[in-house]
Symmetry: C2
Subunit: 213 residues, 2 copies
DNA sequence: GTCTATAGTGTGATAGAC
DNA sequence: GTCTATCACACTATAGAC
């Protein structure tokens, strides 16, 4: 191993190492942009910041991408694809209702916010049809999964027969998205966890009600 | 009625009339800023836009306020006070659970988003301790009301005895906040309404479960 | 494919006349 | 108290050498 910056005793900032040593320039740029979209949003992220974080120069950015918007679209497409392709407890073992409750309780860092939901509050993003398409289809994919598992729970008699899967799917997705909002409003994880606990309890109550259908 | 701009046949843009004829300069500025905070957020709103919308000149803005931040703090304090002081169905007649369900179903224009919750996604707002205090205390006031009515519903036997009011309050607040996110993501009111319907149904189920406690 | 230099625009804010 | 003119700066983007 020749004397790279990772040699013995060398202290390397994780980000710098990550970006500089293991990715091509294009990827460095999209990864840095994806992080900044999450942390700061689209409007508040400048090309200058992306270059600083990725260690890539100005000329390279405008060589690989036509500009800030192009870079953001590519980066955010990757983010949405990562999120929607990741496996969830919704497809694990267990009864449908258990899976719904397990997915609700997946750890979520409330104060960081949702990478996709965040975009929804950025006026420049909402005004951009291409970005909004990515946002909308990411939510669509997620809601479809919720709906399918909720339908299974109804058929299994774990939820009341009158349950409307498309409604409840939006309710549970909203609890998560709203949990992020509450957590950020209070600067604390606790409101997110409380909101989830309350939703899990409501599903427990619904199971009890279904058993008396 | 002397020849004001509202004389017979005169057509006056509602905004222009509203700002120009009925308010003092300070109020014109805070009202315009409050609207823009809602529509575009803090970071994305420039003093120039505030002046254009209010019809007030640059010199006046910096005479009445020390700058953009000062104006935004004053404007947003007014917004938060308006929202937290308005009466809600939570304090109306009817059983506690009915009041909770009625409040959930208050019409909310999902695509416009929540005036307070919106601030939560703006990095420059989150970094500002003064603005975040206003946000946090507005949510606090709202959550306390939810909690009180939920507690009443539990004591009335309309919700299961094991219900944790502080948890369920956050769940229901999250449904509303998340409903805004979903509505904006899809550019449609429908996801908000669906999320609310699902939450109302869950509360119905919880009432059934409570009756078997 | 990457660099440095620089353009052109809009920002938040101030100066000073009236 | 309000106006117009202007500042210094940061932004997104381009030019052109290497």
């Amino acid at each position: 191993m020749p004397g790279g910056p990772v040699g013995q005793g060398a202290r390397v900032d994780l980000h710098t190492f990550y970006y500089n040593e293991r990715m091509d320039t294009r990827t460095k740029l999209t990864e840095a942009m994806a992080e900044l979209l999450w942390e700061r949003g689209y409007a508040a992220t400048s090309p200058h910041e992306v270059m600083a974080r990725s260690g890539v120069g100005q000329g390279s950015l405008y060589h690989h991408f036509s500009g800030k918007r192009d870079l953001a679209v590519q980066a955010f497409r990757n983010t949405a694809a990562d999120m929607t392709s990741a496996p969830t407890p919704l497809d694990d073992d267990g009864s449908p209702l258990e899976r719904l409750q397990r997915y609700l309780q997946v750890p979520r860092a409330g104060v960081r916010g949702c990478r996709v939901g965040r975009m929804t509050q950025d006026p420049q993003v909402v005004a951009d049809a291409e970005l909004m398409t990515v946002v909308a289809s990411a939510f669509d994919t997620m809601l479809t999964r919720w709906e399918r598992t909720i339908g299974e729970a109804v058929r299994a008699g774990e939820l009341p027969a009158g349950t409307v899967p498309s409604d409840l799917a939006r309710t549970l997705a909203a609890v998560i998205q709203g949990g992020y909002v509450l957590a950020r409003a209070q600067g604390s994880q606790e409101p997110m966890d409380a909101a989830i606990r309350g939703a899990v309890s409501l599903l427990d109550a619904a199971r009890v009600a279904a058993s008396h259908d």
